[in-house]
């Protein structure tokens, strides 16, 4: 089943802290129930994002490894 996506955030090529800063900022503009798609290449995001979600109550609904070292997260706003 395809998920609905309300906004896409491209963080490819960026390293810490830019992906998490951009994510936190983008989330401020979303409504409850919105889904954000995040694309990235910094391995750090893979440990930072789940911790941030636990803390903020948002949830990761899907995680994929795409070709060429890019990963993709779908995150649901609380």
């Amino acid at each position: 089943m395809e998920n609905k996506i309300d906004q896409t955030l491209d963080c490819k090529g960026l390293s810490c802290p830019m992906p998490m800063m951009k994510l936190a900022k983008a989330f401020k503009g979303l409504n409850s129930g919105d889904v954000l798609e995040m694309l990235g290449t910094d391995p750090g995001t893979k440990s930072d994002l789940p911790k941030w979600c636990t803390k903020t109550g948002n949830s990761i609904i899907r995680e994929d490894e795409l070709e060429g070292g890019v990963f993709r997260f779908l995150i649901l706003k609380k």
Partner: protein, 404 residues
């Protein structure tokens, strides 16, 4: 390929334990703290900016600039090699976990990397030391100057974080744009990375063995550096993160990890200094004063501040830069380049006039046990770390000081 699902062997399971997932930061902190004690017991504690300065001095030496003729070549410099091995160890760690890739960010990020690296170089040469030498090693070394340097770092980080947030708000184009990724190890096709990891690791052991005949200390530094790089990469041990995240997302794990390393180091270093372990021909006093630099207090606080600004803009302190270089983050390649190019110049041309200007009372070696005794100094440092712990944990819950 065989069809049936095989249970992986015990060795494969062991490999998975280390390389399938990132380690908690505190595991990195503890193990790095132990290796730091080992470095001190063998010779002297961990440091990073001196090694990067050595790389830069060698670059200028090759260009034939006479001021740098006296620079020790990298292969004979303990700290120059330690830095090389941290890059190599992180490279191996990234390969083993198939996380290596050459990641080229948008151009604005590369510029920030270079400038951040240059600022770190200026901060490290003025403040005598970086987040490793004057913080992760300097604080456990019971140096009063290191504590002052750390306060400078904090202020620098907060100022630069404000800048980053402003930049993201007003000039988002700076960190967006075309980016490239090469050599990523996604999926089965990426298994070459694991083999490459073994080749890199084995070569380093061979190199250490070759050194061991004439220079046993170097052989140990090579192996310890290799493990330090690998541990940093796997645990994403990052001192910028430890300082910055409480003020950014409010996250405290990075800070707690660094504190774990500080406390382990504190216990080990205090014992080494108290008993004069490994003093050899040097005096007991020389052993006590190891990693206590003449930067108390103004020199330390200015240097710490500039370094803090630089590392936040670059997204990695001296060691955080090195291990991300090994992981293939090109922004940090730019930072390392800025660091190594500016550091020798700063040491040669910026620092001497500053030193001339500062009276002795603003730049001297402050060894805490001289004032408080060993027990008092130990208790003071421990209390500061605990206070920091309480602050970040409280802030994590309440979000009082975090931006998001």
């Amino acid at each position: 390929m065989s069809e049936e699902k095989k249970e992986s062997g015990v060795l494969a399971q062991l490999f998975q334990t280390f390389f399938a997932k990132h380690w908690p930061v505190w595991v990195g902190g503890l193990t790095l703290g132990i290796l730091n004690i080992l470095l001190f017991a063998i010779k002297s504690p961990w440091g990073a900016s001196g090694g990067i300065n050595n790389w830069g001095a060698n670059f200028y030496k090759i260009l034939g600039i006479s001021n740098f003729e006296g620079a020790a070549s990298i292969n004979t410099s303990l700290y120059g090699m330690l830095c090389v091995l941290i890059v190599v160890g992180a490279f191996a760690g990234a390969l083993f976990s198939k996380e290596f890739a050459i990641r080229i960010p948008p151009i604005g990020e590369l510029i920030k990397g270079f400038i951040g690296g240059g600022l770190m170089a200026i901060g490290a040469t003025i403040g005598i030391g970086c987040t490793i030498g004057s913080f992760f090693s300097g604080v456990p070394a019971l140096s009063g100057g290191a504590i002052i340097f750390t306060i400078g770092l904090f202020v620098g980080v907060i100022v630069a974080l404000k800048y980053l947030m402003w930049e993201m708000e007003k000039h988002p184009s700076f960190s967006t744009g075309k980016s490239w990724v090469f050599l990523a190890g996604t999926g089965k096709k990426g298994d070459w990375q694991i083999w490459a990891g073994w080749i890199v690791t084995a070569s380093m052991f061979v190199m250490a063995y070759i050194y061991s005949d004439n220079n046993a200390i170097m052989a140990w530094f090579i192996i310890i550096g290799l493990f330090m790089g690998l541990i940093c990469q796997r645990s994403r041990f990052c001192i910028v993160k430890a300082f910055r995240d409480p003020f950014m997302t409010g996250e405290a794990d990075g800070s707690v990890g660094v504190m774990a390393g500080l406390i382990v180091g504190l216990i080990g270093f205090t014992a080494i200094k108290y008993f004069g372990i490994g003093a050899g021909d040097a005096s007991m006093r020389a052993r006590e004063m190891t990693w206590v630099f003449s930067h108390f207090w103004l020199r330390g606080i200015i240097g710490g501040f500039i370094f803090g600004v630089g590392m936040t803009i670059a997204g990695g302190c001296a060691v955080g830069t090195l291990w991300r270089v090994g992981e293939g983050q090109v922004k940090l390649w730019a930072a390392a380049l800025g660091f190594l190019l500016i550091s020798p110049l700063s040491k040669e041309f910026i620092v001497p006039p500053i030193v001339k200007m500062l009276p002795h009372s603003m730049a001297f070696k402050n060894y805490l046990p001289d004032y408080l005794g060993y027990a008092g100094a130990f208790a003071l440092v421990l209390a500061i770390i605990l206070a920091w712990y309480v602050f970040v944990k409280w802030n994590e819950k309440t979000g009082k000081f975090s931006a998001y």
